[in-house]
Amino acid sequence: MAKVIIDTANHIAAYAAKAARVQVVAAYPITPQTTVVEKIAEFVESGEMDADYIRVESEHSAMAACVGAEAAGVRAFTATSAHGLALMHEVLHWAAGSRLPIVMAVINRAMGAPWSIWPDYSDSLSQRDTGWLQFYCADNQEVFDTIIQAYKICEDKRVLLPAMVCSEGFILSHTAMPVKIPDQEEIDDFLPPYEPGWVLDVDNPFSHAPLVSPEWYMEFRYMIQQAMENSKKIIEEVDKEYGERFGFRHGGLVDRYRCEDAELVLVTMGTMGAEAKISVDNLRQEGYKVGLARVRAFRPFPKEVFRELAETARMFTAIDRHVSFGFEGFLFSEIKASLYPRQITGDPPLISGFLAGIGGRDVTFRDIEKIAKKSWNWMEKGKIEKEIVWWKLRD
């Protein structure tokens, strides 16, 4: 029987690693990730989880140990935040380039300086181009489900890439919510044991990730890009299958909410997406035809979904919890780039960009309603009055 437990997203991530029958965990503590690895330590030492837990001396080593473990043929897991993720940067590239389907929980936290322990996406979005799939969760159930799904997606031979399952620190990491945990046998049936795409094997020796000249290197990069493209279909398939089996669907690449006839589509990620659903309902009651596209998969970026939405929507408003210094919010950029073809056909929607919630500043459904109304006003006028708005910025 599936059971419902009430617990924090961090503990839920540990439950998910256990349910995925992860065999090696290598991790190093950092706020707000700590309770993930503490819970796993508890599981392993009590014998509830049959895994080896390598208590490494840094995050750089955590990721290198995960690379070693997966290369030697077992399912590996780690979790980190902010500076820990930044320290891993070099090995993130190595893991993706080595085509190892490691899954990592990223408990989002703003990068220093100055020090902050509160959430934004400056940590994970800085790792955008490392070749990792990136999923963003809106609640604790989604954290559990996405970790299980991520192993299935990443280990698919058409993908063989690692994934980050991101959730905002404190907002989710330390907030208890009810979560349905399916039966272990059913999870085992959904997620069979890890079958490596390649493995270090003394009976079939080969040299992995040696020096590759310009004659060959590009093809390896091309294959990663192809794998990313392949993963789009697989993410949708796996989410569908998971929903059919366990009753939860999170929307595949993009969680679309009341978008069918929406003239204005709000675009955001994570818990701001959960909050925005309330805003959409309220705005609808007031007569605004507003919808929400909550991006679950930031990499691969679901440009096709936005092209489809642009068939009906007149405007998109991106609400970003991170800024790319010297440019703009990430979602804002990605949507504009995705919709470029419409620019050519001469029928482009308006697109506006709001920066909100940076460094953990609270963003409520009321804020999102105000952002939506401002955007609606611009849509009516047919003109974006301010290209980038820093929401609730002090004077």
Partner: protein, 297 residues
């Protein structure tokens, strides 16, 4: 006792590999494979061995190889060891094989962590006393006075004593070796293989290119390193320090050749003043006094 005759004929370091002629590291690799055979997994960071193993799509090592980022050998090995344990594979030896830079400098943290956790593997540092891969820059293992591309007038600091740093971790086995004394190296490898836990072997690896000597002098230079006491062959087994032949016969200063005989054959020391040479001699003698104390306690 190991004898040359009983070594396997199989070669796991294949012909045509791109090591420089006379490379001490390539000789050590060949010996490593002969000593341990093919049931090993190698973990190699960025170093000369990245080049020696051959560029894709060629592979010069006939054993499974995991290439990893420069500073992460110890950590990646921990992952491999844990995975083999999970899979119930008991007859495969995990080898970390890294240069001096990847060991005494940038890789020290990951190695120290792996040793502190008692990771069951053999870590081998092949020490050519500089960053060979990137063109011979100074490392923490470069000896006093040596020319490197980042110490063009000679390094002003002495070599870091890495084997003793590893011994301070309390691991069961630490040893030094040099390809000029192959049987000693092979014996140590085979012994390490039978011990559980972290084993550390530090090879002084003469490098004709970086040290600037003719490539047919590798073995001779290595012998001189030992005979002058610039390099000592020893083992530290469960904390017990023991000099091995021929170093064991050199405790008395009179038995050691003057360091000048080792230094004068290498272009990297050409610019040394008499005072520099005296400083190196002083350092060698002091190091040996320390070994004496380690034997008596």
């Amino acid at each position: 006792m190991v004898t040359i005759k009983e070594l396997p004929k199989e070669e796991y370091l294949l012909k045509g590999n791109p090591a420089c002629a006379g490379c001490g590291s390539a000789i050590s690799l060949r010996l490593l494979f002969k000593a341990l055979g093919s049931r090993i997994i190698m973990i190699v960071p960025a170093c000369c061995t990245t080049v020696i193993q051959g560029p894709y799509p060629y592979a010069a090592f006939n054993v499974p190889m995991l290439n990893i980022v420069f500073e992460a050998t110890g950590a990646a090995a921990s992952g491999v060891v844990a995975a083999l344990k999970r899979r119930g594979i008991k007859d495969v030896t995990v080898i970390g094989w890294a240069g001096d830079g990847g060991t005494v400098d940038i890789g020290l943290q990951a190695l120290s962590g792996a040793a502190e956790r008692g990771t069951d593997f053999i870590y081998i540092c092949y020490d050519n006393e500089a960053y060979g891969n990137t063109g011979m820059q100074r490392s923490g293992a470069t000896p006093f006075g040596a020319w490197t591309t980042t110490t063009p007038t000679g390094k002003r600091e002495h070599k870091k004593n890495m084997p003793l740093i590893m011994a301070a971790h309390g691991i069961p086995y630490v040893a030094t070796a040099i390809p000029s004394y192959p049987l000693d190296f092979i014996r140590k490898l085979r012994k390490a293989k039978e011990i559980k836990g972290t084993k550390y072997i530090h090879i002084l690896s003469p490098c004709p290119v970086g040290w600037r000597f003719p490539h047919n002098k590798t073995i001779e230079i290595g012998r001189l390193a030992v005979q002058t006491g610039m390099w000592a062959l020893f083992e530290i087994e469960n904390g017990k320090f023991k000099l091995n032949p021929p170093s064991s016969g050199l405790l008395n200063k009179e038995k050691r050749k003057p360091v000048r005989e080792y230094l004068k054959l290498q272009g990297r020391f050409r610019h040394l003043t008499d005072q520099d040479i005296m400083e190196i001699q002083r350092w060698v003698d002091e190091t040996w006094e320390n070994y004496k104390k380690m034997i008596s306690c």
